[in-house]
Amino acid sequence: MHDLMLLLFIFVIAIFLGVELIQKVPSQLHTPLMSGSNAISGITIVGALAALHSDNGGFAIFLGILAVIFATINVVGGYLVTDRMLGMFKTGKKD
């Protein structure tokens, strides 16, 4: 119970921090920012990895593998695509 409360605590504070972090974003960054934060939501990979416990049942393992695959797609694809977008700004029309 206590643990959960602490986690809830963390959750609440992190929400506030998330709100404060993003203040005013120029329009050309909307998509990259969305994409970049989408990549962070791939953090679920940590959960997916943890799910692949060797003492898990077969189906759970199967689900776990799928979870790892999808989470990894999100992480790898997300970061790379964001990086490509941002890389193009250098040569982009503005600045």
């Binding site: 929400i15 969305m34 939501s41 990895l49 943890a50 776990g64 992480v75």
Partner: protein
């Protein structure tokens, strides 16, 4: 080992925080993304330190996922990036759903709280998944972009949502016994995702993707609660919260409200019929106006007597300069009778050093008014009064005006709804595409200027 893992998680969270912050600024965005990627690496590697993991399967999953992700990210065309992001986002949501399901299988005798978060992770993850897939389909034109509407849609949605919540409550109190419900919950979540996105028009898709991105963060956070993993909770919450903020920023930039986007499809057919009868003038705040200007590529400024009264000529020039620096084309449309003496506007604009080349006459600007993203009417009134064209009983009838009413969006900066010199009511204020920015023109413009500067 645990200590190391936990410290790594703290480090990863800090990296995410920095990364997100940096992503919001043009100068640091790319490095921010890299910082956050390092955070992800740290978190993932730390997780591998847990004892008892099946590394074989892990490697298999990682290799397949990384391969697909890498391939997709490398080969996607620049123009297709938004839909690709949607797809990635969907897979993140699905992963959270799978994590929840797997955890449930491992410990079906969960307590109520864990059951609750399992339920939430599955519902949010599931609807993120299908919603993202639909968004992808609409963006990539695999599906038609226009809103898909049918009768009783709202009732269906509400019913399904209610049913899902009901199943959730049951599941929460008897997680083990009601395990079979999970299958239905998953299906319901999938259906909800589809139903939520199909009525939304293609143009609003980026906003939807951003919202779904926020959801996938929440899903990850819920998954974090299931396995009591703090980095998951923190990163998920960060994404969830910042995603909502980003979504609302994007809404403002498109001059939409979030409810409008989400439920706009439903209203679409009815709003159109709202009549010419002068309805209500819609006010806008300078901040919201900024988001629209920031996105405009073609702006005309229409100064009038009010600009002179407010002595706002210098700020007008400053704003125009900032917009030009932002890549927007800005012109000043000067109506011959604007102000209170011939050449009134010229005197003021010359004082503010507006180059003569940027001044255009109504005849020149009216024909292309449809291409004007925003017309900013600064303390002008009679000279933009559409009654001069439309209403042959108006004393202004027949006078050529600057037809700002035909621009995509019109901002009218004045202090009240009072008429101008001629005393004639102005129907422009009540048009669909008009927004009133009330207040002294100089102070409204100053606010816009500082919004622009803040963003830089």
């Amino acid at each position: 080992m645990d200590l190391l893992i936990n410290l790594s998680y703290i480090a990863a969270s800090v990296l995410f925080i920095y990364g997100l912050k940096m992503l919001g600024k043009p100068a640091t965005a790319r490095r921010g993304n890299q910082v956050s990627a390092i955070g992800m690496l740290v978190a993932a590697v730390a997780t591998l330190l847990y004892s008892g993991l099946s590394y074989g399967w892990i490697v298999l999953g990682l290799v397949i996922g990384a391969g697909i992700g890498y391939y997709a990210a490398r080969t996607v065309q620049m123009t297709q990036m938004p839909e690709m992001v949607a797809l990635f986002n969907g897979s993140g949501g699905l992963a959270s759903l799978l994590v929840a399901a797997a955890e449930y299988l491992r410990r079906p005798e969960a307590d109520a709280f864990t059951a609750l978060v399992i339920f939430l992770a599955i519902v949010v993850g599931g609807l993120t998944f299908t919603g993202s897939v639909i968004a992808f389909a609409k963006l990539s034109e695999r599906m038609k972009g226009s809103p898909i509407l049918f009768k009783n849609q709202q009732i269906l949605n509400a019913g399904l949502l209610g049913l899902t919540l009901l199943m959730g409550i049951i599941f929460m109190f008897a997680p083990k016994a009601a395990g079979f419900l999970l299958v239905f919950i998953i299906l319901a979540a999938f259906a909800l995702g589809v139903l939520a996105v199909i009525p939304i028009g293609g143009a609003d898709m980026p906003i939807v993707v951003s919202l779904l991105n926020s959801y996938s963060g929440i899903a990850a956070s819920m998954a974090g609660f299931i396995i009591a993993n703090n980095v998951l909770i923190v990163a998920g919450a960060l994404v969830g919260a910042s995603g909502i903020i980003l979504t609302s920023i994007m809404c403002k930039a498109m001059n939409r409200s979030l409810t409008n986007v989400l439920f706009g499809g439903f209203g679409a057919t009815t709003t159109q019929s709202s009549m010419q009868i002068q309805g209500e003038a819609k006010a806008i705040s300078a901040e919201d106006a900024y988001y629209i200007l920031e996105n405009a590529s073609n702006v005309i400024v229409v100064p009038g007597y009010g600009m002179a009264v407010a002595q706002a000529q210098h700020v007008v020039k400053e704003l125009a300069d900032l917009m030009e620096k932002n890549g927007t084309e800005v012109r000043y449309a000067i109506h011959p009778v604007a102000g209170r003496m011939p050449g009134h506007m010229n005197v003021l604009l010359a004082e503010a050093n507006v180059p003569y080349e940027q001044l255009v006459e109504p005849e020149d600007v009216n024909p292309t008014m449809e291409n004007v993203d925003v017309a900013i009417v600064i303390g002008a009134n009679d000279v933009v009064n559409p009654a001069a064209k439309e209403d042959d009983t108006s004393p202004l009838y027949g006078m050529p005006i600057i037809e700002t009413d035909r621009a995509r969006t019109v901002f009218v900066l004045k202090r009240s709804m009072k008429p101008g010199f001629s005393g004639v009511e102005n129907p422009l204020f009540f048009k669909e595409n008009t927004r009133m920015l009330f207040g002294d023109a100089k102070s409204s413009l100053s606010t816009l200027v500082s919004e622009f500067k803040d963003a830089a």
